[in-house]
Symmetry: C2
Subunit: 235 residues, 2 copies
DNA sequence: TTGGTCAACTGGTATATACCAGATAGTGTA
DNA sequence: TACACTATCTGGTATATACCAGTTGACCAA
């Protein structure tokens, strides 16, 4: 058993995808069908499929099947472009769904960053964002209401950066970013409609105004295969 | 079967680690021992262990066992600190091993970036870097010899940024970074002594001189649990 | 003390099988 | 036509078992 069976399977599907015989979004045969074709058990087949998933080539929809992953979108945080804009520019179709919106008391971390007393109200916003109808990103953000009075009356499925510009004459300026490759926490996996424990990318972003005040704290949970991050550092 | 068995196991070990009853680096019981204790088969146990691995809490060494992951090091590319420096500052012990060093003809991409003819010599350097004796990072770099004559005679397990400063009075300045959460390619997994197909973080970095010339192109392959990336964007 | 052999232990790969639970599409009824 | 039901398909979870292939440590011989 010099090269394991699942390795052949991986190569097989990898080649099909590379040669465009299986294109983005198309469905793979069911695990049982593959098993019949290759005379392998589901355990072995799932090993191959999970590896391909880790590579980012395929993904699953719960009890619907395995599908070829679309190309990853390139996220360029330093450009200050909105999600809608950079997704559109790269030839995909973005959409946003608001899952929750409420005014909440600030916890310790939020309060400290925003330089407000613990328990003071902040606007919590919970959104799901799609690329070509595929949910790829869960966002949980805490917005500094003091700097943006009346923000809660806006349509918060819209791009925040556009609301900022239009209503408050503000723009994103400085930001602190933190990236971690890890599995998705249960709540995020659930919101994305995928099994918990699957690989993901977590981003924490702190947005500042031009006056070094914290405008917004953003926790993002991405499908790991949906995004590549590019950053240019210029001193 | 509202909550699956592997979920209990995950929680069990997750709690042990959180409460420091299992500390960084310590070995978990063998899969068969766990199976006896919890009356579960290895398939179920491995599902739990793989999920914990995806979370970054544990990792495996081929046929040696499962171990608790050390805390991730924080990599702050924009700070221009060397690997040795930031790892040391965070209380870990770094080391570097040179796996290969050779002069190679530039391929198309390298040549274009460095603005030299295709096939012109570049210095290829292949290193493995450790944190507390654990291999965490494979580096494959292409160095622009034209800008750094005699670089190949240096001790290339040393920090490159220090060599640059000492011998060439150069410093890292601008850089382009690209991050992708994906599984490790076979060559990198092999160099890290882990099974292929495990989750990882790939970084591509292009370093420029103060005069916008490409000094070095760097491909990094990290264990995904070994690193968190922080970046401050200041306009 | 050194070095080699080997048994025991570890995770890695694989078969065969079973049942659960969500998704889907077709059927039949009101 | 509208809708509820249902058979079937899908992946999700799990048991039991087997053998392979590095790792390790104990033991023995030089």
């Amino acid at each position: 058993m010099s090269t394991p069976h699942y390795h052949y399977l991986q190569q097989y599907f990898s080649d099909l995808i590379a040669s465009q015989q299986l294109v983005s979004g198309s469905k793979l045969p069911s695990e049982r069908e593959i098993g019949e074709q290759f005379k392998l058990t589901r355990v072995t087949i799932r090993q191959a499929l999970k590896n391909l998933e880790a590579e980012g080539l395929i993904y699953r929809q719960n009890r619907r099947g395995w599908f070829v992953s679309p190309a990853a979108v390139i996220y360029h945080p330093a450009s200050h472009l909105s999600f809608n804009l950079y997704v559109t520019e790269q030839g995909f179709s973005p959409s946003t769904e608001k899952l929750a919106q409420q005014v909440e008391p600030a916890n310790e971390r939020i309060a400290q960053l925003m330089n407000i007393p613990i328990g003071n109200p902040v606007l919590y916003l919970h959104r799901r964002r799609y690329i070509d109808q595929r949910p790829v990103l869960i966002e949980k953000m805490y917005i500094n209401q003091n700097l943006l009075p009346g923000i809660e009356e806006e349509d918060l499925t819209e791009s925040l950066s556009q609301i900022l510009k239009r209503k408050y004459q503000q723009e994103y300026r400085d930001m602190d970013l933190s990236f971690k490759s890890t599995s998705l926490p249960a709540h995020a996996a659930n919101d994305l409609g995928i099994a918990a424990g699957q690989p993901g990318l977590q981003i924490e972003r702190i947005n500042y105004t031009g006056h070094k005040q914290v405008l917004e704290i953003d926790y993002e949970f991405w499908r790991h295969d949906a995004v590549t991050i590019n950053i240019a550092i210029r001193d």
